[in-house]
């Protein structure tokens, strides 16, 4: 019971700190006497950024400026993103962009995308999009990249300390963090890998499935923490899910055996006349499976972030703190639900990857 209260308290603290973070946004926009734009605020929090905003107003608050790395026609340019965020804000009708200063001279940033300014030092817009300006390749260490490194480091530290336990104590009953992680690791090995992949071949894929599970899970959880080092919507970013789903696709294609390909190019029991229809369908099927993986993780995590942000925004839309009595419990409920979703989506991703790989390496049995 005491523990339950403790957990509840921690969850409540998280909800409240997310209010604090948002409140600073509300304040900053209040100063500019601007209408509070919910969708803009939510998109801003859900998308990637070149800074890691901690607290205070959006411009001039406490923030971690992350390095910008650009590959332009003149070579690689690296500088701190402070040259943007402390730069001049240009208003071009409805479009607001930042003109870089100092090392960022000659670059403009519109909605966190960096473009080269033209000869007159301007960005050109057409229907709300930048048009006609060169876009350098942006390899910056953005908020998501930082979060990615933190999350990966965390996963490695956790698992390395587990491994060290076994190294020091041998094959004994686990203690400490190994005690917590071992059932999960064994579950993934036995109930995800072994259950879905051919008995003789599953061992090869266990490290991949384990890594993908813990990577997604830990990063999902980090995303639920409203302040640094959390809050980045990493696993709800389409690039991350695209990459993970592509890995599963590549593993499927590389390991696909004769049986797998023969099911695609000559599905058994299908009349020859239907093959011109069936083969394209099967080929599309190869790609729809990982595509679904990509969309599922992206949509679930992003939706969770959006719902929590929207619920907290109720207070700022209605401009009265009393709305907190409604929005905080609801946001807390969704936050707790998201804890479940975080584990569930990691499990699903690993399970479905195992299923697809399992189908690719399955031996013919008819």
């Amino acid at each position: 019971m005491k523990k339950a209260i403790l957990y509840f308290g921690i969850a409540l603290l998280f909800s409240l700190s997310s209010i604090a973070v948002l409140a600073s946004d509300g304040e900053s926009q209040g100063h500019e006497e601007k209408e509070f734009n919910v969708s803009e605020m939510i998109m801003h929090h859900v998308k990637d950024a070149h800074e890691w905003h901690l607290w205070g107003p959006e411009h001039g608050g406490t923030t971690i400026y992350l390095p910008v790395i650009l590959i332009t026609e003149d070579g690689i340019k690296t500088f701190s993103s402070s040259h943007f965020y402390e730069g001049e804000l240009i208003h071009d009708n409805e479009n607001h962009y930042i003109k870089g200063a100092g090392a960022a001279e000659g670059f403009g940033m519109f909605h966190e995308k960096i473009y080269e300014l033209d000869r007159h030092g301007k960005l050109h817009f057409e229907n709300g999009h930048v048009h006609g300006n060169l876009k350098p390749y942006d390899f910056s260490i953005t908020k998501n990249v930082t979060s990615l490194i933190i999350g990966s480091f965390l996963v490695f530290i956790i698992m390395f300390s587990c491994a060290r336990f076994y190294k020091n104590h041998g094959s004994v009953a686990p203690k400490g963090i190994a005690k917590f992680m071992e059932p999960i690791i064994v579950f993934i090995q036995d109930d995800i890998a072994k259950a879905n992949i051919n008995e003789k071949k599953y061992k090869k894929f266990v490290p991949y499935l384990l890594t993908i599970f813990f990577f997604i899970w830990i990063n999902n959880l980090l995303g639920l923490i409203p302040i640094f080092p959390g809050s980045a919507n990493l696993t709800g970013n389409i690039t991350i899910t695209l990459f993970l789903a592509s890995l599963t696709l590549i593993l499927t294609l590389v390991n696909g055996n004769k049986n797998y390909w023969s099911h695609i190019f000559s599905p058994p029991g299908v009349p020859k006349a239907l093959l011109p229809i069936m083969i394209p369908i099967e080929i599309v099927g190869i790609f729809t499976k990982p595509f679904a993986l990509m969309i599922r993780l992206f949509a679930n995590i992003t939706a969770g972030h959006i719902v929590i942000l929207a619920l907290i925004s109720l207070i700022f839309i209605n401009k009265h703190v009393a709305w907190g009595a409604l929005s905080v419990p609801m946001a807390l409920f969704i936050s707790v639900l998201e804890l479940l979703v975080a584990a569930l989506q990691a499990y699903l991703f690993a399970l479905l990857s195992a299923l697809f790989i399992g189908a690719a390496v399955e031996e013919a049995h008819h």
């Binding site: 998109m43 859900v46 998308k47 990637d48 790395i69 909605h111 995308k113 390749y137 942006d138 390899f139 910056s140 260490i141 953005t142 998501n144 990249v145 990615l148 490194i149 990966s152 996963v155 490695f156 698992m159 390395f160 587990c162 491994a163 076994y166 190294k167 041998g170 094959s171 004994v172 009953a173 190994a178 071992e182 690791i185 064994v186 090995q189 266990v206 490290p207 991949y208 384990l210 890594t211 813990f214 990577f215 970013n237 389409i238 690039t239 991350i240 695209l242 990459f243 993970l244 890995l247 992206f298 992003t302």
Partner: protein, 164 residues
């Protein structure tokens, strides 16, 4: 639209970070952890198997012991039964023998009593005969001590003859 557009830079960093994470974890974490866990699982399975086997052996041994015990009990009962029978028959035969023996003794005793009795009777008879002769002699002597008495006797005898 921005939300669902993959970003090249992030993809690049994800590739590097995730692949190195995969490599590092596979080498430094998954391999030792899975080796330890699976080794332990195997040793537990082996121990369980051994326990099962031992239990079976124990069961077989116990069954064998029971069998032996049962046999021993049966044998003991048999021996006891035989012994009892022997004892009973021995007692019986002893009784019979003693009966015959005692009968014999009684018989011989009876015989000897009878012969002793006969001998005693014969002796008694001769004794009585001798005594009565003596008595008769004495009586006659007294009866014939005087003339009168001789005369009376003669008379008496004569009367007896007369009566005949």
């Amino acid at each position: 639209m921005d939300l669902v557009t993959p970003d090249l830079g992030l993809l690049f960093w994800t590739g590097i970070v995730f692949c190195s994470l995969l490599f590092l974890l596979a080498k430094f974490a998954w391999k030792p952890i899975l080796t330890a866990v699976n080794e332990r699982g195997e040793s537990i399975a082996e121990a369980l198997e051994l326990a099962e086997k031992t239990r079976d052996e124990m069961r077989a041994l116990k069954a064998e012991n029971d069998q032996i015990l049962k046999q021993a009990k049966a044998e003991r009962d048999e021996i006891l039964k035989e012994a009892k029978e022997i004892a009973v028959s021995m007692v019986e035969s002893a009784k019979n023998k003693s009966k015959v023996e005692s009968q014999k003794i009684v018989d011989s005793a009876r015989d000897s009593i009878r012969s002793e009795k006969a001998a005693a009777m014969a002796e008694l008879k001769t004794h009585v005969a001798a005594l009565s002769l003596e008595i008769a002699e004495k009586v006659i002597r007294t009866e014939l001590s005087s003339d009168e008495k001789q005369k009376a006797l003669a008379n008496n005898l004569a009367s007896d003859i007369n009566m005949n």
